[in-house]
Each structure stands twice: as structure tokens, then as C-alpha cells.
């Protein structure tokens, strides 16, 4: 049975902390929901609950990092990124201290919680702060890869995680990777939206269209070399976002120098969020796999694009 990705993160951190004494975990009184409890069970002496005080939690983590520790601060993405934004800006981004922020319940699917608990523009505000590496795992293998990579590096990091447990995405984890054959017309996705894309990909295959998905586990920074290596031969990309398209990956790709055509598909920027099941919310926003497949299919029909796979993109 799959568990929430925050719990996967907590477990991997707990394992890593067996041999890495610099790891601490902080939590803003959501450890049972955001997964920090997995660490607390094994390492209570290196687990600090700030209580419901995200601003203090982030600054505490920064102070720890300034003394050589590797603190990971867990909460919901909304409370981390919005409530503690100035603390992240001053104590983490500007100082370049290796604090990792783990934001659970990111994106538009917050279940019953509704709009106050959603993070629909967190990528926008976190990627526009200097020095912060942003990760968006789609499954537990991605989480492990991200945890190991973050610990290998020494930089501020933000990991956004979807609310619900996620199935395994095909293939081996990597920073950026293709799911299916690389193609000139492609889907680009991350986190939960990669699952929507994978299901859309299967629907399109049943209609004779083979389209590759470029999955971004690490959403930011994206270098010009990344654009060349992974997107060099992509002419048209549907960027599927669990985020507003304004300030989302579609804008980040433009900023990184992608010269092909981009079409962002995400949550409506006029929508503040609401309660509901993932199925109801994605139906409302036309983000269901069937909606994505329909949009892509109509693109092929309108443009007369070649529906065969076009294996053409080099990977590194």
C-alpha cells in the first residue's frame, strides 16, 4: 500500500540520520499529516516541534544550519511558503544556508481542506527567490532520489509534495527524465501532474498517438544545458501544472531559454481554490487525464502533426 510522500520523506530522512548526525527535523504541528512523524519516532532528540509557529520554525532551522546542521522543516506547503515567506527570504535564500523546506499538500487538490490550505503559486514565489532548489517528486522513488541529492548538495531547498499517496511512475528516478519515448511534441509535468500526464499518455496511445512526457523531479534551477539536452528537439510542449500557469514551469522553461512553443495547462489563475475530491477538482479545472488527452488530440487534428513517435531527443 502506498503512503503519502511526506511519510516517505520522513522515513528516508530517519534512515539517513542513522549515519548522519547533522540531520534535524522540525515540524509545525502537522507531523501526522506531513510525514515528519516518521523521523520523530526514530530520532526524538533531533525532532523539534515549533508548535503552530511556522515563522519561528523556519528561522530556527536557519539558525541550526548556520551552525553546520542540516535541518528539514515540515509543514503544509501553504503555511511554509506563505506564512514564513519573509523568514525564508532573509534566513534561507539570502544566507544560502542548507535548510530544506518540505511542503506537503501542495497544489490544487487539498481534499476537504479547501482554499486556505492550497499552494497554487508556491513554485512562483519560491523559484523567484535566489539560491533555492525546488523539487517536485511524483512518487516514493523520486522522494528518495531528492532526499539523497539534497543531502549531497549544500543549498537551500524546497520540496513540494501532493496530498494523497501516489502510484509509482514508470522508469528510474532522475532529476529530469523522459517517460516514454522522447518526442518533438511532448508533455512536460512534475509532481502530481506527472500522474495526470501518464494517464493521458495511455489514453492517447489507445488513439494511436505516442507522446513523450518530460518529468521534472527537480523543477528549479533549470540550466540552458538542461534545455538543450532534454528539450533541444522539442518543438511544442504541453506543460501540465499542478499550479497556476502564471509563474509555473511553463514560465520557468521560457526563462531558461526554451525556444519552442509552450502551452501551459494548469489551475485557473482566477480560481482561489475550494474543497473537493481530486476527481471533482480536476474535472472542474479540466485537468483530468481525459481532458488533457482531448486537448492534445485536438492539437494533432488541428495541426496535422505526425502522430508517430519521434525519437529525437538526447538525454543526459
Amino acid at each position: 500500500m502506498q503512503q503519502k510522500l511526506g511519510h516517505e520523506c520522513g522515513q528516508y530522512l530517519a534512515e539517513a540520520a542513522l549515519t548522519n548526525s547533522s540531520i534535524w527535523v522540525l515540524d509545525g504541528d502537522l507531523a501526522d499529516s506531513d510525514g515528519a512523524e516518521e523521523f520523530a519516532k526514530l530520532h526524538p532528540a533531533r525532532f523539534i516541534s515549533s508548535g503552530i509557529a511556522e515563522q519561528a520554525m523556519v528561522s530556527i532551522a536557519a539558525g541550526m544550519a548556520s551552525c553546520g546542521c542540516r535541518p528539514w522543516a515540515f509543514s503544509f506547503a501553504s503555511f511554509l511558503c506563505y506564512r514564513a515567506y519573509d523568514q525564508i527570504r532573509v534566513g534561507v535564500s539570502q544566507t544560502k544556508l542548507p535548510v530544506t523546506l518540505v511542503g506537503a499538500y501542495a497544489g490544487g487538490c487539498g481534499g476537504r481542506n479547501g482554499k486556505t490550505h492550497l499552494a497554487l503559486n508556491d513554485l512562483s514565489i519560491m523559484t523567484t527567490l535566489p539560491n533555492i532548489h525546488v523539487w517536485a517528486p511524483a512518487d516514493r522513488d523520486d522522494v528518495r532520489f531528492a532526499v539523497e541529492s539534497i543531502l549531497d548538495e549544500s543549498a537551500p531547498a524546497y520540496m513540494r509534495l501532493p496530498r494523497l499517496p501516489q502510484q509509482i511512475v514508470p522508469g528510474e528516478p532522475g532529476r529530469i527524465r523522459w517517460i516514454g519515448a522522447p518526442s518533438e511534441i511532448a508533455i512536460v509535468a512534475y509532481g502530481a501532474s506527472t500522474h495526470w500526464a501518464v494517464d493521458a499518455q495511455a489514453l492517447l496511445r489507445s488513439k494511436g498517438i505516442d507522446i513523450g512526457i518530460l518529468h521534472f523531479l527537480k523543477v528549479w534551477p533549470i540550466s540552458s544545458a538542461d534545455v538543450k539536452n532534454f528539450l533541444g528537439d522539442v518543438k511544442y510542449a504541453f506543460v501540465v501544472e499542478d499550479h497556476y500557469t502564471i509563474g509555473g514551469l511553463v514560465d520557468l522553461l521560457r526563462h531558461a531559454g526554451f525556444k519552442g512553443q509552450l502551452e501551459g495547462i494548469g489551475w485557473l489563475s482566477t480560481w482561489g481554490g475550494q474543497s473537493g475530491s481530486d476527481a471533482d477538482l480536476t474535472a472542474f479545472a479540466k485537468l483530468r487525464p481525459s481532458d488533457l488527452a482531448s486537448r492534445i488530440l485536438s492539437f494533432y487534428q488541428q495541426t496535422g502533426a505526425d502522430q508517430r513517435p519521434t525519437v529525437c531527443v538526447s538525454q543526459t
Binding site: 515549533s50 508548535g51 528561522s59 530556527i60 536557519a62 539558525g63 551552525c67 546542521c69 523568514q87 544566507t95
Partner: protein
């Protein structure tokens, strides 16, 4: 190194040199926070002369956070005076690539233990240091009385007492004034923070109030804090603009101001006169 190493007169002479350097630097910079820099100078000098050991290893050394980062020039002047900052021209304060940012920047200036400037964050950062370094290190955080209006201060105060973090010490530069305050609402309380000790005590801290310009009292309070079993607060009663008669008389003007050459000379004269009186 402790209180016995310095007689009050020794540090008063040093304080005069530090204050003179601050005034000179602020004038060269085109202005700045005279009032808060003057009020915090003695707190910092007593700390760096009586408590902080510069050559200690990173693992065990004490750390200082000037959470009221707008008084950065006072920190820089003290760091230079005690020899922690080398080859730095205080006259380049706040200039491009001058090595002394307008607010303390740990990525730019050696000896700055944490970056500040956005008020209210230093106590929590110090708490993180206190957790990380353990009881062998004492963490000293200097905040303004006005700064205590920031909610994050109280978040951190609650967490520190919950975990009984006894190596965290907060010093309030209680100079009784802030930039604007409630000067347009004269019927409401004018002081930045009232009932200070009671507030912090109710958050689980042990507290003491001292004269923030009396070196013996300051050093005694620092030693008291070091021996505390709870997070400790020192309310240092200070005078905004201390040592500069004009600034003491008009703290609102001298909160942050640009001076003419004549005004600068006048302040230097006032500082010298204050030393003679002392």
C-alpha cells in the same frame, strides 16, 4: 575573561572610541541610525569584551545576533574595535562592495554570526543555534524594544521555554523609542513595549533589568544569564542616542537621519564633552 578584567573606566574609554567611529562612519555613509546605534553600543562592547572569546573553535564558541539589524554600524564598530573584523574601513559602511552591508550580512562580513534586518527573526535563529550547538555555547540575541512588537519574537519565546533552552539569552535594548510609534495618537500608550519583564516571565523566561550603559551591571547580568537554567532575558535600560546630547534630546529625529557637516561636528563635540563628564 570576565568582569574583573575590566574596570568601568576602561570600557568607558573604549566606548568613546567606538561611538566616535560610529558617528564618523554614519556621516561618511550619508546618514543612518544614530539613535539605536548609540543605545546598543555599551551592550555590544560589554558582550564582546567580557563574554565572547574570538579565538574559540566553531563548535563551542558563543554567538551573537544583532536582531535589531538597523544598528549594524555599532556591531561593525565593536567587531573592529575588539579585533574580530580586520582590514575593514568603517567609512565604507553601506557602500557597494564595501564589505559592510547596511544591515548585518553573514555572507559578506566576517564575525557576523547571522544576517538580520527584517525585524523579529533573531530570537528564533538564536534558538536554532542554541539547539544545534548545545549547552557548551551561549547564544546572545540583541533585540529592540520596538522589535518586540513582531509576533515571531513571541513564537520563539514560547518554544524556547517549552524546551528549557537555557543557553539562549535575549538582551532588549530598551531605549524607549521607535521610528514613529504612536506619535500621531497621543492618547494611546507611547512606549514601544510595557511591562516587559512580566510579559517575558509569563512566557517562561527568567528576567533581569539593568542599566544598559553601566558596564559592571551589564557584565554581572551576562554572568547571571550564563548560569540560568531557563532561557533568560536581560532588559537593558538604555538612552536612545546615548552620548550625543542632541540625539538624546530629540530621539525621533536621530532615529535615522542625514546630518550636515556642521551638525556632525556638533555631535563630535557633544561626544567629547560627554566623555569628559564621565
Amino acid at each position: 575573561m570576565g568582569v574583573n578584567m575590566y574596570r568601568n573606566n576602561d570600557l568607558l574609554k573604549e566606548a568613546h572610541a567606538v561611538r566616535s567611529a560610529i558617528i564618523d562612519a554614519l556621516f561618511k555613509a550619508g546618514g543612518g541610525h544614530y539613535g539605536g546605534a548609540m543605545s546598543v553600543t555599551d551592550i555590544l562592547l560589554a558582550l564582546y569584551r567580557g563574554i565572547i572569546v574570538p579565538a574559540q573553535s566553531a563548535a563551542s564558541r558563543d554567538r551573537v545576533i544583532l536582531s535589531k539589524g538597523h544598528a549594524a554600524i555599532a556591531l561593525y564598530a565593536v567587531l573592529k574595535h575588539v579585533g574580530i573584523l580586520h582590514n575593514i574601513d568603517l567609512g565604507r559602511y553601506g557602500t557597494f562592495n564595501g564589505g559592510l552591508e547596511g544591515h548585518p550580512d553573514m555572507t559578506v562580513t566576517a564575525g557576523v554570526d547571522f544576517s538580520t534586518g527584517s525585524l523579529g527573526q533573531g530570537v528564533a535563529a538564536g534558538l536554532g543555534m542554541a539547539f544545534a550547538c548545545g549547552p557548551q555555547s551561549h547564544i546572545w540575541v540583541i533585540v529592540g524594544d520596538g522589535e518586540c512588537q513582531e509576533g515571531q519574537i513571541w513564537e520563539a519565546a514560547l518554544i524556547a521555554s517549552r524546551y528549557s533552552v537555557s543557553n539562549l539569552h535575549v538582551i532588549i535594548d530598551n531605549n524607549g523609542a521607535q521610528e514613529v510609534g504612536w506619535s500621531y495618537s497621543p492618547v494611546v500608550e507611547q512606549r514601544p513595549l510595557v511591562d516587559i519583564e512580566a510579559k517575558w516571565q509569563s512566557f517562561g523566561w527568567v528576567t533581569a533589568t539593568v542599566d544598559g550603559h553601566d558596564y559592571a551591571a551589564l557584565l554581572e547580568s551576562y554572568h547571571w544569564a550564563q548560569s540560568s537554567r531557563s532561557p533568560s532575558l536581560i532588559v537593558a535600560k538604555t538612552t536612545k542616542g546615548k552620548g550625543l546630547l542632541s540625539a538624546e534630546r530629540d530621539p525621533a529625529k536621530f532615529h535615522c537621519v542625514t546630518l550636515t557637516a556642521e551638525e556632525h561636528q556638533m555631535l563630535m563635540g557633544e561626544l567629547n564633552a560627554a566623555e569628559i563628564r564621565a
